[in-house]
C-alpha cells in the first residue's frame, strides 16, 4: 500500500469579485483539478510548478487543514482532514518562509516543547536531537535565541524541530529559499541522509531545480491544478522537448548556416549555436556541418533543467 494516495482529488474555491457598486460576481477557481498519484514509503519526490499552480493547496490537503471538494485522499492509511490531530503526530512540515520555532527563546526551548507536544520518549528524543545537532551543525546554536539566528541557521533549526518525533512523512515547502550556496548544500545533504537512512518519505516543493536534481528520484510537475509530468528527470527532458546545443567554431564569420535536423539559435562572429532534440545523437548533425562548412572546433552542451521546466510552463500556459 502506498503511503500517500490521491485519486481524482479536486479543490475549488469561490472567489467573489466586485463588478459594480453593489453587485458581486461569484466565480469558481479550480486550484486543484483532478490529481491522481501514489507515493510509496521511503520515496523522495519533487513537486514543482509555477506560482499559483496548486502546490500549496495540495500540501494543505495532505496535512488535513483543507478538505478536498471531491476525490479520495489518504495519508498513512487515514483521511487527513478527518484525523488531522492524529496525523499531525506522524508528519513533519517545514516551510522555508515560516518558522515553528519560539522566536524569543533559545533553540533548545523549542525542542523541549516539541518533545512535550509529540510526547517523544526520553531516549528517542536524545538520540534524535544528537543526530540532528551533529548533522546540521547546531551544537553552538542551541542556547541562542531564535531571533538572533541567520536565515540558514534558523532553517536548519526548523528542520531539526520537524524531525524530532520521527515523522513518517516530511513535507518541505521551499526549504532552501533565500539560503546561500553553502547552507543549501548542507540542507540538501541532511535531507538526503534523512531520506536514505531514516527511510522518511519526503515530498518537496521548490523553485530551485538543483534541489530536485540532487535529491529526488521522481518529479511531479503541476500546472493549473493538473499534473503535467510525473516521472524521473530524464523523462522530463523527453516530455519537455528539451534540446541539446552544438556549438561550432567555423573558419570565418558567416550568416546562419543551414543544417538538416538542427537550427541556429545564436551567432557570434565565427561561432554559431545549433539546437537539436535532446534524444537525438549529435553525430549526424556534426557530420552534416563538417561536410558543408570549414569546421575549426566544436562542443556539445546538455540541456539545463531550468530551461526544460521554463519551456514546459510556457507551453502549458499557451495550450
Amino acid at each position: 500500500m502506498a503511503l500517500i494516495e490521491l485519486e481524482d482529488v479536486r479543490r475549488s474555491f469561490t472567489v467573489r469579485t466586485r463588478t459594480g457598486r453593489l453587485r458581486r460576481e461569484k466565480r469558481e477557481v479550480h486550484a486543484v483539478d483532478g490529481l491522481t498519484f501514489d507515493i510509496e514509503a521511503g520515496a523522495c519526490v519533487g513537486y514543482i510548478g509555477p506560482n499559483g499552480a496548486g502546490k500549496s493547496t495540495t500540501i494543505k490537503m495532505l496535512t488535513g487543514i483543507l478538505v478536498p471538494s471531491s476525490g479520495q485522499l489518504r495519508v498513512a492509511g487515514v483521511d487527513p482532514a478527518r484525523e488531522r490531530t492524529a496525523l499531525a503526530r506522524r508528519i513533519g512540515v517545514v516551510f522555508g518562509q515560516r518558522t515553528t520555532l519560539w522566536w524569543d527563546l533559545p533553540l533548545r526551548d523549542s525542542y523541549e516543547l516539541a518533545r512535550r507536544i509529540y510526547r517523544i520518549p526520553d531516549a528517542r528524543y536524545r538520540a534524535n536531537l544528537d543526530r540532528c545537532v551533529e548533522l546540521l551543525e547546531l551544537g553552538g546554536l542551541l542556547d541562542t535565541p531564535v531571533r538572533q539566528l541567520s536565515l540558514g541557521q534558523r532553517m536548519r533549526g526548523d528542520l531539526a524541530a520537524a524531525l524530532l518525533h520521527d515523522p513518517q512523512v516530511l513535507y518541505l515547502d521551499e526549504p532552501t529559499i533565500g539560503l546561500d550556496v553553502v547552507s543549501k548544500g548542507r540542507v540538501r545533504e541532511f535531507l538526503r541522509q534523512v531520506n536514505r537512512e531514516q527511510g522518511t518519505t519526503v515530498l518537496l516543493t521548490t523553485h530551485d531545480l538543483v534541489d530536485i536534481e540532487q535529491l529526488c528520484d521522481r518529479v511531479m510537475v503541476i500546472d493549473h491544478g493538473r499534473l503535467v509530468h510525473d516521472g524521473d528527470l530524464a523523462g522530463l527532458h523527453a516530455v519537455g522537448m528539451s534540446e541539446r546545443t552544438l556549438v561550432v567554431d567555423l573558419a570565418e564569420a558567416r550568416p546562419p548556416i543551414e543544417v538538416a535536423g538542427a537550427r541556429v539559435v545564436k551567432v557570434d562572429g565565427p561561432r554559431q549555436w545549433l539546437a537539436f532534440p535532446a534524444q537525438q545523437s549529435a553525430a549526424p548533425v556534426v557530420a552534416a556541418v563538417a561536410e558543408r562548412y570549414p569546421l575549426v572546433d566544436l562542443s556539445v552542451r546538455e540541456p539545463a533543467i531550468e530551461d526544460v521546466i521554463a519551456k514546459m510552463y510556457a507551453r502549458v500556459a499557451i495550450g
Partner: protein, 289 residues
C-alpha cells in the same frame, strides 16, 4: 484498502492513559516558556513599570483631590481611593485591560499567514494561547504589578490587607480576571478568521474595556442605569472585582459571590471561544484560508 496493517507508526485512536498528564505538561511548558519570553525584554519591562508608576502618581493625586472635595465618594475613604489607583495600575497590564499579550502574537500570525503552521500542530489552539497568556500574566504580575505598587506604597498611605486569606482571595481573583480577559480577547482575535484583521474590533473593545472594567473610575460611581448594569458585565471582573477584594470590600459571602461572578463569566467566555474556534477552523478547513 486494509487500514489495520500499519507497521511502524504509533497506534491510531486514543493516546495512552497518560494523555491528560502529557497535555498538562505541554501547557506547563508553554506557560513557562511564555514567562521566560517576556522576561527577556528587560529594558521594555523596566520602561513599562516606570510608565505605570508615573501614571499611578498622576491618577493618585487626581483621586486625592477628588476625594478631598467629596469625602467618602462611592463608599471609598481617601486611603481606599488612592489604593484603588495603585491596585488598578498593577492590574492594567497583568490583566491586559487594553488588550495585547497573546492577542498581538495571533494578530501577527494572521497577518503573516503563520497561523497555518499552528494548525499543523497536534495541540489545542485555545489551550496553547491560554497557557501562554497565563505565563505572561504571571510575569507581568511581578514586574508590572508589584514594582509600581511598591513605589506607590513608599509615597502614599495605602490600605494593604494583613490577612493572608484576603491575599489568597485577591490572587485567585486576579487569576480569574486573567481568564475572563483571555476569554474576551480570544473572541476578538478569532474574528480575524472572518475579517483577516481584528484591529478594528480590538479598538472598540479597548474603549469598552477601559470604561466598564473600572480602570478609569470605580464603576460604583456610574450614575443611574449605567451603574446598575456595569457591575454585571464581564469587564467588571477585570479590575473592579479584584480591587474590591484587595480593599476588603468583598468579604465572607460577598467574597465568594465576587469570585463566583468572575468564574461564571470565565466559563461562559471560554466555552463561547471554543464554539467560535470550532466554527473558525471548520471555515478554514472547508472554505480555505
Amino acid at each position: 484498502m486494509p487500514v489495520s496493517a500499519k507497521p511502524g507508526g504509533p497506534p491510531r485512536g486514543r493516546p495512552p492513559r497518560t494523555a491528560t498528564a502529557g497535555a498538562a505538561r505541554v501547557y506547563l511548558a508553554v506557560a513557562a516558556g511564555s514567562f521566560r519570553r517576556y522576561s527577556t525584554y528587560r529594558a521594555a519591562t523596566l520602561a513599562g513599570a516606570f510608565t505605570n508608576t508615573v501614571f499611578g502618581f498622576i491618577l493618585a493625586y487626581s483621586f486625592l483631590a477628588l476625594w478631598q472635595a467629596r469625602p467618602g465618594l462611592g463608599g471609598y475613604d481617601t486611603a481606599q481611593a488612592v489604593t484603588y489607583i495603585w491596585v488598578s495600575q498593577a492590574l492594567l497590564v497583568t490583566v491586559a485591560v487594553w488588550g495585547g499579550g497573546f492577542q498581538d502574537d495571533v494578530q501577527e500570525r494572521f497577518r503573516t499567514g503563520d497561523i497555518a503552521v499552528d494548525l499543523y500542530r497536534p495541540v489545542d489552539f485555545q489551550g496553547w494561547w491560554l497557557a501562554g497568556d497565563l505565563g505572561r500574566a504571571g510575569f507581568h504580575l511581578v514586574a508590572r504589578g508589584a514594582a509600581p505598587m511598591i513605589a506607590g506604597a513608599l509615597v502614599f498611605d495605602l490600605r494593604v490587607p494583613h490577612d493572608p486569606l484576603v491575599w489568597a482571595g485577591f490572587l485567585l481573583s486576579v487569576l480569574l480576571a486573567v481568564l475572563v480577559s483571555f476569554g474576551l480577547r480570544y473572541l476578538v482575535v478569532l474574528t480575524g478568521f472572518w475579517l483577516h484583521d481584528s484591529d478594528g474590533v480590538r479598538s472598540v473593545m479597548l474603549v469598552v474595556s477601559m470604561f466598564f472594567s473600572g480602570m478609569l473610575l470605580p464603576i460604583g460611581l456610574f450614575p443611574g442605569l449605567l451603574g446598575e448594569i456595569a457591575p454585571l458585565l464581564p469587564w467588571a471582573s477585570l479590575v473592579q472585582v479584584p480591587t474590591d477584594v484587595f480593599l476588603e470590600r468583598s468579604t465572607g459571602a460577598g467574597l465568594l459571590g465576587a469570585l463566583g461572578f468572575q468564574a461564571a463569566w470565565a466559563v461562559v467566555l471560554l466555552a463561547l471561544g471554543r464554539i467560535v474556534q470550532l466554527l473558525a477552523t471548520r471555515r478554514v478547513v472547508v472554505q480555505g484560508g
